[in-house]
């Protein structure tokens, strides 16, 4: 750096990216467990906060997150997940066999819900509502809806049912993230 100028420089103004090219992100949520639905919802919410056009396409088990009947009752199991350790940074691996014991999914779900609540992360229905309020668009997969016997009335409000081809079309100029 050379000498600092004596004349008052133009004020530093944060670059909020208003002039940047429009960015668009399209998430595909294909799983309906608590631990697999949150990543797409948190990232979608973050994208909206950053002014990015955001879509989420719910398909297969992901449909549970937008189905009125199930959306407030998503579960968590560590069965098949070797990265599960007891809370608090323990090096211990939770025994896989234990995950299959009766009542263990209920217990694990309750523990995860508490951890999520402690971090002041909203429950899934509230987070989805926040995403919609922030301008995010939710879509449901037609094939999955047919398979599960859902109509739009079974889903949360403002979630149109579209085909896979529709989604491919609407995501053509976006970044697609499969979760």
């Amino acid at each position: 750096m050379t000498d600092t100028a004596t004349a008052p420089a133009a004020p530093i103004v944060p670059d909020f990216g208003d002039d940047d090219a429009e960015r668009k992100m399209c998430f595909i949520a294909s799983k309906g467990t608590l631990d697999m639905i949150y990543p797409s919802l948190i990232m979608a919410n973050a994208a909206l906060m950053e002014g990015v056009e955001t879509h989420i396409f719910f398909t297969f088990w992901g449909m549970d997150a937008i189905a009125k009947k199930h959306m407030d009752d998503l579960q968590f199991t560590w069965m098949g997940n070797t990265a599960m350790h007891p809370p608090g940074g323990s090096k211990v691996h939770m025994p896989q066999g234990m995950a299959g014991l009766p009542g263990m999914t209920h217990l694990a779900t309750r523990m995860m819900r508490k951890q999520i609540a402690d971090l002041e992360i909203p429950e899934v229905p509230e987070l989805l509502q926040m995403i919609q309020d922030a301008g995010g668009q939710l879509w449901a997969c037609k094939l999955s809806a047919d398979m599960m016997g859902y109509t739009e009335d079974d889903l949360m409000d403002d979630v149109p049912i579209i085909t896979a081809a529709d989604f491919i079309e609407l995501s053509a100029d976006g970044q697609v993230i499969f979760t």
């Binding site: 530093i12 909020f16 948190i42």
Partner: protein, 104 residues
Amino acid sequence: MPTATLAGIEVHVNDEGFMTEYDEWNEEVAKALAANIGIELTDAHWPVITFLRDDFLAQGETPMLRRVASVSGVPTKHLFQLFPKKPAKKMSYIAGVPKPHGCI
């Protein structure tokens, strides 16, 4: 630490341009900050800005958008209209508080 002259007052800002000294802020400074990013403050903006400042003082950190909406009572949709595209960052910039940290 860089400074900026806003509404005739010299204020301290960080590298991005966010104010760093809570007490150097006043309403005229807020109007100048808003003008910098193309926002004209209206009666609808002020309750949000006041909430942000009060909450920062009470909590020691800038509230995230969810907290602004749920505690101040201004719906998320309106926040996006008042502070387009990046409401959380823009409102904290105008309110003279740090950028919020956190994921929700």
